[in-house]
């Protein structure tokens, strides 16, 4: 690799419009070498469209893309050798075994790890001779990761690698990503899970309706929230919203059914105030819980919507 080059991926003013929707609407992204970068956003935000443009699978309507300092046009063969991809929805051939699938993908690349080593690295060695159709969801995702890693790529693209997985499978996949990073690899991943972004990513871009709405390290983004803490509580009867907004140190209040979510500076200051207010109105406290603000809360405060449609 060229030592002078620091950007693994760069795109400027990326646009992709479909008939009825602006999937990507003027996106700029610059991802450094060795960085793990997360694209975060709700369903339909344009994450897949963006990542597939960067992967050279979708042609943008306008905008420039450079991957490893090269444009897709004229450098496709070279770039394909140097990147590894896991698509959001691919069903690898059910009739082949894990071993056969990895061997097949390995044969497309000029260099890379020995298939059996890779299978062991991804803890799939017990399943090596099992048909792909018989794997669990987590095992399939690890096989997809194996197929992405089989060419020893400089950049790893993962589109929702852990969606629908149980916590243990998710952890296993995170380990795979972290191991790839210790070898100096660059990662671009998309996710719905804030926790995943916070754990894995150096920087996160939050996208919505094809726009970038926030960019920074997870800590920077959370710091953007005026409030560091969240109080969720409900009472019978509910308190008037007015009362809550006027509590000292409260930066905002969002109703959730008959519960409220308050964003506050300090729990030590606000919780006693809140309890006092409840007592004063003669209402009965039903639930009360608090947590530190996360990217999830940032998304709610930026868009007024939940990140995941539940």
């Amino acid at each position: 690799m060229w030592p002078a080059m620091t950007q693994a991926i760069a795109c400027r003013d990326l646009k992709k419009y479909y008939a009825d929707v602006k999937a990507v609407d003027g996106l700029d992204l610059f991802i450094d070498n060795g960085e793990c970068f997360g694209l975060l956003g709700p369903n339909g935000a344009g994450k897949t469209t963006t990542i597939e443009i960067l992967e050279g699978l979708t042609v943008p309507d306008s905008g420039d893309v450079e991957v490893l300092g090269l444009t897709w046009k004229g450098n496709e063969r070279e770039l394909r050798q140097r990147i590894g991809i896991s698509l959001q929805e691919t069903q690898l051939s059910d009739k082949l075994t894990v071993h056969e699938t990895v061997h097949l993908f390995r044969s497309f690349y000029r260099s890379g790890p020995a298939p059996d080593d890779l299978i062991r690295d991804l803890s799939l060695d017990e399943k090596s001779n099992a048909r792909v159709g018989k794997l669990s969801g987590g095992q399939k995702q690890r096989l997809a990761a194996a197929c992405a890693l089989v060419g020893d790529p400089d950049i790893l693209f993962l589109d929702e690698p852990t969606t629908g997985l149980d916590p243990q499978s998710r952890l296993q996949l995170w380990e795979v990503v972290q191991r790839f990073r210790t070898k100096g690899g660059t990662v671009l991943l998309t996710t719905h899970y804030m926790e995943e972004a916070e754990r894995l990513c150096d920087r996160v871009a939050i996208v919505d309706h094809g726009h970038l709405i926030a960019l920074g390290t997870p800590q920077e983004l959370i710091a953007k929230l005026e409030a560091r803490n969240i109080i969720e509580f409900s009472s019978d009867p509910p308190l008037p919203e007015e009362t809550l907004r006027n509590l000292p140190g409260c930066h905002g209040c969002t109703p959730h059914g008959n519960a409220y979510q308050l964003r506050v500076d300090s729990l030590a200051e606000s919780v006693p105030q809140l309890l006092a207010a409840v007592e004063k109105t003669g209402a009965k406290l039903l639930t009360l819980s608090t947590h530190e603000a996360t990217l999830e809360d940032l998304f709610v405060s930026l868009t007024g919507r939940e990140l995941r449609d539940v």
Binding site: L57, R80, T90, Q91
Partner: protein
Amino acid sequence: MSDKVRPAIVELTSARTKEFLRETEAIFWVFGFPLLLALALGFAFREKAPDRIPVGVIAGPTASREAAALKRSPALSPRVLNPDEAHDALRHGKVSLVVDSSHSLIYRYDPTSPDGRTARREADDALQSAAGRRDVMPARDEYVHEQGARYIDFLIPGLLGMNLMGTGMWGMGFTIANARMKKLLKRLIATPMRKSQYVMSQFLSRLMFLVVEVTVLVAFGWLVFGVRVNGSIAVLALLCIIGGYAFSGLGFLTASRARTLEGVSGLMNLIMMPMWLCSGVFFSYERFPDAAKPFIRALPLTMLNDALRAVMNDAAPLTKVMPHLALLAVWGIVTFAIGLKIFRWQ
């Protein structure tokens, strides 16, 4: 299990081959079905010793002598009946001829029925020579059962052609449409794999099965029905390969854009149906109007069937089937070229 990295074309071909071998139903349609069809049709139309034609003899003093004379003809099966029975039997077709010698000798039969006319000639010969007639010009019969002229001889090459069409088209088309639907094609083009190698591997894998398929069907025809390959095996093999190539191309083109399996199935049937009907699989296309024949002859299956029959039945040399081979090759080249041009990888 080796951990050696083999060339992509080898891996792709072997992957495709394994996928097929692990697809039990597909194995039946490729190998079992044509054999069952050949077996059923072969027995339905097998050569039988010509039946004796039933003849009635009206009961009377001379009836048993006449019946015995008639029995000596290999073509007749006489029985003695009283006049009423004979009348009904003739009317219902249970006998084709009634011999009545109660007064003078009378042959009673339907002149429009070939059996009736044959029976009349045979019966007359038998009775006249029994009565002492001498032939002025002695003659003897020589029977011909020409190998290569039976229905089964016509059928086996037709089934071979039909099978090459079916497996060629489905083998390519179904796999490709399926891989596209599952986004496997998209995943593959996200690797450095060469697209041409993918297409090539599909065809190579097809070719391996084609060898088995053809061998099984030809051996079956030979062992069970005595259908021989009168021409050169090498020419037959070449024909099957080029024919398989043409139909793989057609299957590839059919599947080059389809997004769903239903879409590709419909299109396949639309393309194959006219060839099943017109290309002389089960019966000769000579019965179609002359105006239609140039079109029928341009169809790849017609080309293939004609050439297969020429080689298997008439021992045609390579030079004789050159035009067929050329036309089939053109079909293959053109369909692959167009297919690659318009191919939808995702």
